[in-house]
Symmetry: C2
Subunit: 548 residues, 2 copies
């Protein structure tokens, strides 16, 4: 038996496109001799559709797509993902389902049992969990069909009372299929491999995983679908951030003896995968929204240089516009380094001074500001004027403004709301400052793409004379480690201190993170590359006291 | 037996304050002869704590609070809400629980069975649902103790497979206690009354409800706790948006024969309750964050006049600062009407023209803008300069900027991101424009507080010559009805058209709503007064195709 894994890039709610992709892949797989072709979770509508699932017409469009796709399943079977109505007398209106299509019609429907509702996942908001699981018979074989989380109930204690694989294995399946929508995080790839490998090995069954590829606003899906032998070894993978169809021979996979090897990740590999992810994320955001051109402000610092470089790779230099916005406290090197960057990358640019406008605003406020020392108010004015200019150009000329804030500054609130926090998409908002340096060094590994002077200068917002980031923040090497422990590892202050950090610094950093929740509430969506990004996966109350 | 309902205003995560409130209310209730005092859901930590629940230290602080509160429960019993650890081998880490405290210790723990996970609720993100329900014995009585949603499983089909009251009634309870955190919506009060009344009547048991009061960022809790007789009649209520302790005699409530009367709501009552809610919401946001002073831009239009009036009521005129920001296209009446308003309300104000700064920005962009017609870019510049000025004053002088956008314009994207969409809190972002007029007329019911000229002028953004809102939007009487059907009632376009609206207009409005998701993603938190507000209760994908 030949099983095709189709790793496709769906657009949420774009039924025509998704249907066409699926029907073409069915036809292609049939021609290549496949008996069965497997698509990803909610393939018909794209994942995650969020509250679109609450509209009746959306569910109907899903059903219509499945029905039409079924008519193309002759001489081949297909598994597609779509919501299905709950017909029971209780429960949420929908199930998250996998449709088994054969002989031109729906032969079986498998309903998802385990509904992830944590971090970026909110499936119980829409779906009823199924508790009854049946294998799907197909050509004298039995398929243990599962959906994503269904095979992830591995923690101690287990997150769910139910384990679909226990029920399915009682029915003597011949192989496991898992259709999934498992988002990317650079350090999630090993977890995923481990889960797939252990599932195959535990049940001594071949496992075929079809994962979605695509960028859905903040969430990036890398795909990396593949087939595992009954020992847990990876027989073949479809690669990351790319579409494809791969055909596996079931009997070969069963006989295959490759051992499981958890992919190790060197630092440069981490950089490479994050680089790929961010470029892909920009491409997807623009491509799926029908935009072509990006604009951003170049400060002369690392973050904007990095975002420009990623945007050039994603959209082409000809579609990127860099604006240098010198102000009263900008250094000469902020201009000269930026000019070198745009020249090297062949990017259109302009220099628009904000000094006159800054003077005008200050002038209009001089009665109100009289008697007060200069403080963060004046700094914010500069950042906000830059945003006005950038947004004016974006509005007039049809650009999307890229946000250039990094995760460290977003975490501690070292950014101006409605100023440098503006933008349609935050490209590096899930990248700590120290990771931004690593990424820049990775980009420069063969030749100097980001000028060395930008990498080596001391970080400064240049919003007052002789300002340095370290005037108000701990050194990034320390800050980022504390932030990683607090945000990603969810460690309380005491444990972070116990792991070797200065108590005052830890408390100060945590206080800064907590006090800037209100800023992040209004921040743009952030391309998620870690296991805990700011945005939909981290939901903190604003009006609250936080334990410190 | 005497049962005290304590309707208290907790602050999320403020364990000291919450504990003090609870202990004082226990002492007070004991002095007033109560046998039992009932607090609201998650009273110990405040509701909703969101991802604070994911930190171990938070759960520990909850446990410590409960333990300390228990020591005060001598000669009186108390029911408090707090998370409790899940000790089972599976499931989420916590339950949402009610602790029955007596004889100085925890006597019983009831765990919530039905976890609302829709609209603004996300309880399954944190809590395991309980499936085993036991009455709590107390002084020869049996209490059917329930938590909020536990008695709300009334839909057809029912939302949950489990019904805690079915299990509890098998154990012959004498009365029902429901501790809840049911947020305010002007049209939710009748639903709530109906649910409580029907629960009491169905099981022929007295029902005592303790609901939280307080503003938690966007969510407002009105309290309106009360006691119902076994016929479903309301014996007594604790009122809306106020703290209080009310003592009910169980035997009197049992014998009480008041009939259930669903509270009707006249239009002025709707206005009154919304007015109360918004004033309360402002008070709470400022009070709990430790802020005193608000600033806002006065345009001469209805929305900012309304927000100023609400802020004056909430914070006092002396704590409000109004800024008139005339620009190149501002009318004379925008100034004169605003001046009348600030004089009448005795509010400090200033007039800061944006024209010079606007000229300066346009000047700096003249090369880039050459050859282009004036369009929305120039309009947005004006709105954004106003935001820069307002935020500068807020930063320098310690004000919080109030956002003045209404729900109609937020819905269709008729607002400038980083311009008039700025602010720490959106006061009327859940009020349609036509409701804003009703609210203003309600405020003016006895004397003219908002100048009549502001109510009677035609709405205009005044960002270009002779601009009117109706240049780009349908009349608000039509627009708001379409929006209500689309947003609150979740009706598809076809049904809205069938209910008597022009097809092109309906499609255009829906398209505008969908295309402005990206703006609302970055909007401030909105005081929620309807059943479907923008913000945490409405979660739409940005990169997507929406069915039209």
């Amino acid at each position: 038996m030949k099983i095709a894994i189709a790793q496709m890039n769906f657009t949420i709610g774009h039924f025509e496109k998704n249907k066409r992709l699926i029907i073409e892949a069915i036809s292609d797989s049939r021609q290549r001799g496949a008996d069965l072709v497997v698509f990803s979770e909610l393939s018909v509508c794209g994942y995650p559709p969020h509250d679109l699932l609450e509209s009746d017409s959306f569910a109907e469009l899903c059903s219509k797509s499945v029905a039409e796709i079924a008519t193309h399943c002759n001489d081949i079977a297909a598994i597609v993902g779509a919501p299905v109505r709950n017909q029971k007398a209780f429960g949420k209106r929908l199930y998250n389902a996998a449709f088994f299509l054969q002989h031109g019609q729906i032969q079986a429907i498998y309903r998802k049992g385990l509904l992830p509702t944590y971090d970026v996942f909110d499936e119980y908001r829409y779906f009823e969990p199924e508790t009854d699981f049946q294998v799907v018979p197909f050509k004298n074989k039995r398929i243990a069909l599962t959906i994503c989380e269904d095979i992830w109930n591995l923690g101690e204690p287990a997150l769910y009372a139910v384990n679909p694989m226990y029920e399915l294995t009682k029915q003597n399946p011949d192989f496991v299929v898992n259709i999934s929508a498992s988002p990317f995080a650079w350090n999630h790839l090993a977890d995923r491999f481990k889960t797939f490998s252990e599932t195959a090995r535990k049940y001594q069954l071949p496992l075929f995983v079809s994962n979605q590829v695509g960028g859905h606003t903040d969430l990036l899906f890398d795909g990396s679908s593949g087939a595992f032998n009954p020992k847990g070894g990876l027989v073949g993978s479809l690669g990351a951030f790319t579409e494809g169809i791969e055909i596996f021979d079931l009997e070969s996979v069963m006989r295959n003896t490759v051992s499981p090897v958890v992919p190790a990740m060197a630092d440069w590999q981490k950089c490479k995968t994050i680089y790929q992810a961010l470029v892909f994320g920009i491409k997807e955001y623009f491509g799926k929204l029908g935009f072509k051109k990006a604009i951003l402000g170049l400060s002369g610092g690392l973050d904007s240089a990095l975002v420009l470089t990623l945007a050039v790779e994603a959209l082409g230099a000809e579609n990127c516009m860099a604006i240098l916005l010198p102000g009263p406290y900008s250094s000469e090197h902020s201009i000269s380094d930026s000019l070198q960057l745009v020249h090297d990358q062949k990017v259109n640019y302009d220099i628009i001074s904000i000094s006159q406008t800054y003077g005008s605003i200050i002038d209009s406020l001089n009665v109100n500001f009289a008697g007060y020392h200069a403080d963060v108010a004046e700094e914010n004015i500069q950042a906000r004027i830059r945003a006005v200019v950038l947004m004016a150009l974006a509005n007039k000329l049809g650009y999307v403004l890229l946000n250039t804030s990094n995760k460290s500054e977003a975490a501690v609130g070292y950014g101006t709301l409605y100023g440098d926090m503006c933008g349609g998409l935050s490209v590096i908002g899930d990248i700590y400052k120290t990771e931004a340096y690593s990424l820049a060094r990775y980009i420069n590994r063969e030749k100097e793409i980001i000028p060395a002077s930008i990498l080596h200068k001391e970080p400064s917002a240049e919003l007052k004379p002789n300002q340095r980031d370290t005037d108000s923040l701990p050194p990034y090497e320390i800050l980022d480690k504390i932030l990683f422990r607090f945000i990603e590892l969810n460690m309380p202050a005491a444990d972070i201190i116990a792991s070797g950090f200065d108590a005052d610094t830890v408390h100060r950093v945590i206080r800064m993170v907590n006090l800037s929740e209100f800023k992040r509430y209004q921040a743009p969506p952030v391309l998620r590359v870690s296991k805990k990004a700011f945005g939909s996966g981290r939901k903190m109350p604003l009006v609250a006291r936080y334990p410190e």
